[in-house]
Subunit: 260 residues, 2 copies
DNA sequence: AGTGAAAACTGGCTTAAGCCAGTTGACCAG
DNA sequence: CTGGTCAACTGGCTTAAGCCAGTTTTCACT
């Protein structure tokens, strides 16, 4: 009977992946549904278990499925994205709510936010950070604050903030103590640094091994990296933060004027 | 003789991947260098070829290596990112140069830019686009323009622009004809739509199969998706564009004021 | 010297078999 | 009813062998 379909010049693993993908995107296999087990697939399609395994791995790499040891493979559900915008830095929002936009966003989704300052140290800054702060990466240490953000105790992003010594001094910013109402940007204001412009450099990539472990990132999920620079009213950078966030749980939403 | 190293609770494929990764990040294996072949690795470490293969696959998924049929696997070089910013929409930049920011950026990197309008059609808009345009996704068609962006004939991003009929009318925007100096935003201005604010919603994910093919995306590379909305001086949306770009070649760079 | 075919590589993908380690549910003893 | 055990599932990972399809090198013949 010759070749039936046209998508036939492909290796079996991909052919099977295609069929499963079609079932997923068409809705035949809704989010959360269990896929056939590797051994079932193998029998069903007359292929080796390894080949069935590879088919599922393909879907996993595409972020369409997730497999769990001892349980099976499941259609991954796409939870609503967390939308973080420039209003993260709005003073009005900060003062009205007394609560960070992260907490608002998480709460809005019916989950419980938690943030954790994991460490405060003094270190030589990475080259890209030093450049943006306008300091010498070899000579001057900066204050490094590492913050973790959770939703329902699931880690969703990390932010590492670098503050020049000249800015942090002996203020609360340079110590482990709790930052209090309005959090970090309120403390900057206490010191006379009013955030007036921000620069955000955004990239995406696959997570490193450390990030995969720390953020518990499932396979097939990239991270978004945001290198954030805060500028005061004299256009001087006073703080740089590198955010790394799970791309399946986070998105960015900016609204801004177009400058001439 | 007992266990030597501590990182030993891991399967061989991962152990080997770890060693190779260390060599790459330390610089022992610089970008572009050929990795040992699968058969060499197998012999070297006393593992099966499949296991060596899996080790390389791990690096590939992390975006650290790329393998080429018949040639070998190589340490992936990280080309400088294309930095696309809000100045994409700057009128001054548009008028001074007469050239799109994309072309400037690509030329700056010593590569040759090319853009291609692949199709202009009238269709019902996707739900998310319709919502942002404030039109009924069931009732009204919009003009859909599909644009491809190349650097040295390598595709780096796609932009699909949706324009309400009420805006496009019978202007050049609704036809295949060349858009001319200043390109699309100049034509919007001709019609009285001056871009004054933009909204950019950013997410990242693994590419779909179509995107992998169309953009020729190597394995282990995510895409950045930007849903862009242009607002005129009366805060009315007149155009939405969905950009999909290879995350290994593109980055975003925004500088903006912090609004109260 | 040039050229063209073959040999010796490379990765791509599959099969078949096996052991290990989580998970689940049935069933049995208390 | 509770708690524990165990068998039957699940995926995780490896080995060993083989065929195929690209690429590069070699070498003999022109």
């Amino acid at each position: 009977m010759g070749q039936a379909a046209n998508s036939d010049r492909q290796p079996p693993s991909r052919r099977v992946a295609d069929e499963l993908r079609a079932a997923i995107t068409s809705g035949d296999l809704p989010a959360g549904r269990k896929l056939p087990s590797e051994r079932e697939l193998a029998a069903q399609y007359g292929i080796a278990r390894n080949t069935a395994r590879e088919a599922i791995a393909i879907l996993q790499r595409e972020g369409l499925a997730i497999s769990q040891h001892g349980r099976g493979a499941f259609v991954r559900s796409r939870p609503p994205l967390m939308r973080l915008g420039a209003n993260r830095y709005s003073r009005r929002l900060r003062e009205e709510t007394g609560v960070s936009p992260f907490r608002i966003e998480v709460t809005k989704q019916g989950r419980t936010p938690r943030t954790e300052c994991r460490s405060v140290t003094r270190e030589l800054p990475p080259a890209d950070v030093a450049q943006r702060l306008g300091v010498d990466p070899q000579a001057s240490t900066v204050v490094r604050r590492e913050n973790w953000y959770f939703a329902d105790d699931e880690p969703v992003q990390v932010g590492v903030t670098y503050i020049p010594e000249a800015v942090a001094g002996t203020s609360p910013l340079a110590s482990e103590q709790v930052l209090g109402r309005g959090s970090i940007y309120a403390r900057f204001e206490d010191l006379g640094y009013v955030i007036s412009r921000i620069r955000e450099e955004i990239s995406a990539r696959m997570p490193s091994r450390d990030e995969t472990e720390g953020l518990q990132i499932p396979p097939g999920v990239p991270v978004i990296e945001v290198l954030h620079t805060s500028l005061d009213d004299k256009q001087r950078p006073f703080e740089v933060t590198r955010f790394v966030m799970r791309a399946d749980l986070n998105g960015l939403d900016y609204e801004m004027p177009v400058e001439d």
